[in-house]
């Protein structure tokens, strides 16, 4: 019985939150990795793009709520998501036209492109703050739980509670759909294939008649969609605050680098590696230890790292990967 209780505790406090967080990171890292492989720079504005997209979604959600439109048991934000994606993608395309295109045409070095993305980051940051402010916003509505602690107890009779919030389930399902769609698009459609060709060898792709402008446009639209979805899911699951979206830039970059920057599969795997390490190392294992080792009552929380140091986990993994395997697990782009 204690073993089952221990498993339930692990599922409740580690597996479920880490899976949801991992899915959000994976979507963010996919955006970074796509921009990297097609446009060839690390996009520092990714976090603020996510914040902007989420801000738009929140505003539309409020509009829907004011009009009395709801999505039944699902959060209204999902209904607002497509509109948010369109607006974010439009903003990214505008940014590309006004800012990035010049550097692409003049073939600026990657580090200059990174610096340019810092400028874009400042502007996006300001836009998000103009739009929605800096305060913490909770915008989830609809049913809160798929399984709550009481139902679980009645269902199983176990003393250890297990809760599954609806936002966590929605995150995982949405992320799964988006990933399947993206991989299908990259591997099966003509445009997706031309994007991969462009990423592998730009000159060869140009020679075979691939339109670079089209590839770039599609990349930005997908990046906008991924950023908006990732940001909205993260905001639904936790809450929206402009500054936290800047901070998750680090775990997102770490995910992309761990998996091999430029490799979509790597981004997904990297996201889950980072999220499980982060949650696992900052979880207080006291409860699980008491279940598993009878007669032992640990003094402290049996927490390997305080939660304040969660970014240290991403960073340490990042450094280990840089030392031992700089191309990442899935052999991303050349070092």
């Amino acid at each position: 019985m204690d073993v089952i209780n221990a498993l339930v505790a692990i599922t409740n406090y580690v597996i479920i939150p880490a899976t949801a967080y991992g899915a959000q990171l994976a979507l963010g890292a996919l955006g970074v990795t796509l921009v990297y492989s097609i446009l060839r720079f690390s996009n520092f504005a990714q976090g603020d793009t996510m914040a902007f997209g989420t801000g738009v979604v929140i505003l539309i959600t409020w509009g829907f709520q004011a009009m009395g439109i709801s999505f039944g048991p699902l959060p209204t934000a999902l209904l607002a998501l497509p509109f948010g994606i369109v607006i974010t993608a439009a903003l990214l395309l505008g940014t590309d036209r006004v800012v990035y295109r010049y550097y692409r045409v003049t073939r600026a070095s990657p580090v200059v492109m990174v610096m340019v993305s810092v400028g874009v980051m400042f502007v996006m940051n300001a836009l998000t703050r103009f739009l929605i402010g800096v305060d913490q916003i909770n915008f989830d509505d609809g049913a809160r739980f798929v399984i709550n602690a009481r139902q679980w107890r009645e269902m199983t009779g176990l003393s250890e509670p297990l809760t599954l919030r609806s936002t966590q389930l929605i995150t995982v399902i949405t992320a799964l759909i988006v990933m399947v769609a993206l991989f299908w698009f990259l591997n099966r459609t003509r445009t997706g294939k031309s994007m991969r060709a462009f990423s592998d060898n730009e000159d060869l792709a140009l020679l075979s008649g691939i339109d670079p402008q089209r590839v770039v446009t599609v990349t930005w639209i997908i990046t906008g969609a991924l950023a908006t979805i990732a940001g909205t899911l993260y905001g639904l699951d936790k809450s929206f605050k402009a500054f936290t979206y800047f901070q998750i830039l680090l775990p997102i970059f770490a995910s992309a680098v761990v998996g091999g920057i430029g490799s979509p599969v790597g981004a997904v795997v990297g996201g889950f590696i980072i999220s499980f390490s982060e949650v696992g190392l900052t979880y207080a294992w006291k409860k699980v230890a008491t279940y598993l080792i009878p007669g032992w009552e640990p003094e402290g929380l049996v927490q390997l790292l305080s939660t304040d140091y969660k970014y240290a986990v991403s960073f340490t993994i990042l450094i280990l990967v840089l030392i031992f395997r700089p191309t990442g697990l899935f052999r991303g782009k050349v070092v």
Binding site: V111, V112, V114, A126
Partner: protein, 442 residues
């Protein structure tokens, strides 16, 4: 980048002209808003100039993108706390030895793990290394946790930390630089020599972690409880002492000034002189380095890494060297900033202000030009402060025609974020239309 970095024709009057404009702006500020405000902006501007000089070494001389200036700044800022604060009585006896033992265990475990990984060529060495690290981690925590608990239990409302060594504040400045240099060496060692943007990502991470450490390790710097009353550097007097000194009050009255105002101005002027000396020394040293064979080599590497490597230059080593040097300068600025503020507030470190704004200063001032970086430091700091003042005024004017209510309120509230927009747009404009900045590299 190489094409845009070639020396071009610029008038010799360009730099003096820009500095004259800057001086004029500060004089206007002094006349309209008071000299205290003008000197305050100038002092912080000079500190920003030092940070910009450090970033300029990295970005301007070598093309390295440091996205973690904030971290090195914060790390340098810990030096005044550890060097010039008086020690907390009994704290070292309570937990000092435990802390030293804990860190010794951690370092031994890391070295051992690295040696095993490098020297042993057997199957399962990965497992062995993991085992060493796990055992080392638990031994470290076993020593560290009780020591920290003992230190934090001492007088928690006023201290609860180790305190410092009680040495003069000026000593803490170079120490801050050394601490930042140490951290930079560790980061550079792993991230340099790989693709160029890995350094940016790694520094972004180390900055977040260093600030998290300052926020949470109470035994070190009281965390978010802040350390107050950090002593001022040597020649700078305290306002209250001046106001109590009869000779100073008489002198101030002799000039026809209010003694309180005169004392605040004198304190700011004393800081100004100190900072100015440091800035000028740094510019002189950087200029000498730039003109030396070493400086030419650095620029050759920046402009074409491949050909420099072909000439037998060790690009990664040189990059590590300049990255450490630049971070040391940023650490120095961090220590100076804390002794100017007189307090350590870890929650005030914000990456937009202390990392990305510094990059904006360097790029707008002129990458690779030390005078440009210094100019950018003061000028952009002035704009940043003033944009905060002007933003609400401009916004109120824009919002005036709208009816009172939600929209108007929202517009006026959001004015505070105006300076982000201004900085972003400025950065993009300079990168696009004048990539060499206000004072181009010679």
């Amino acid at each position: 980048m190489s094409a845009s970095r070639q020396p071009g024709e610029t008038s010799a009057l360009r730099a003096p002209l820009f500095f004259a404009v800057l001086a004029l702006l500060l004089v206007i500020e002094g006349v309209t808003s008071g000299w205290n405000s003008a000197l305050g902006i100038l002092n912080m501007g000079l500190l920003s100039a030092i940070m910009a000089l450090g970033v300029n070494l990295q970005w301007g001389y070598a093309g390295l993108f440091n996205a973690g200036a904030m971290g090195f700044l914060a790390l340098g800022g810990i030096a005044p706390v550890l060097i010039s604060m008086p020690p907390t009585p009994g704290a070292f006896r309570a937990g000092g030895m435990g802390l030293i033992a804990a860190f010794a265990v951690a370092i031994i475990a890391l070295i051992l793990a690295a040696q095993v990984w490098r020297k042993l060529r057997i199957r399962g060495r990965g497992l062995l290394v993991t085992l060493i690290l796990i055992v080392g981690f638990f031994a470290y925590r076993g020593l560290f946790d009780p020591a920290v608990a003992a230190i934090e239990a001492i007088n928690p409302s006023a201290a609860g930390n180790l305190g410092g060594l009680g040495l003069p504040t000026l000593v803490s400045w170079p120490v801050g630089a050394l601490m930042a240099a140490g951290a930079a060496w560790l980061v550079g060692k792993t991230a340099l020599g790989l693709r160029s943007d890995y350094l940016a990502i790694a520094t972004l991470g180390i900055a977040e972690i260093l600030v998290a450490i300052l926020k949470n390790e109470q035994w070190l710097d009281r965390g978010v409880l802040n350390v107050n009353g950090i002593p001022r550097p040597w020649p700078v007097p305290y306002e209250i002492d001046l106001q109590n000194s009869a000779s100073f009050v008489k002198m101030a009255q002799g000039w026809g000034m209010d003694p309180v105002l005169a004392s605040t101005l004198l304190v700011k002027l004393a800081f100004l002189v100190l900072f100015l000396i440091v800035v000028l020394l740094l510019i002189w040293a950087s200029q000498m380095a730039l003109k030396s064979p070493w400086g030419r080599m650095m620029r050759a590497i920046r402009d074409n890494e491949v050909s420099a490597a072909a000439m037998g230059k060790n690009v990664t080593r040189r990059h590590l060297q300049i990255f450490v040097l630049g971070s040391a300068v940023i650490g120095l600025a961090g220590a100076m900033m804390i002794s100017l503020d007189g307090q350590m507030t870890p929650s005030s470190y914000n990456p937009l202000r202390y990392t990305f704004l510094i990059l904006v200063m360097v790029i707008i001032g002129g990458s690779g030009n030390n005078w440009g970086a210094a100019l950018g430091g003061v000028l952009i700091w002035y704009l940043w402060v003033k944009a905060g003042d002007w933003g609400p005024d401009i916004m109120t004017m824009i919002a005036a025609p709208f009816p009172d209510g939600g929209l108007k309120e929202h517009l006026v509230d959001s004015a505070a974020h105006m300076r982000m927009l201004v900085m972003g747009v400025l950065l993009l404009l300079v990168l696009r239309f004048s990539p060499r900045g206000l004072l181009p590299e010679k």
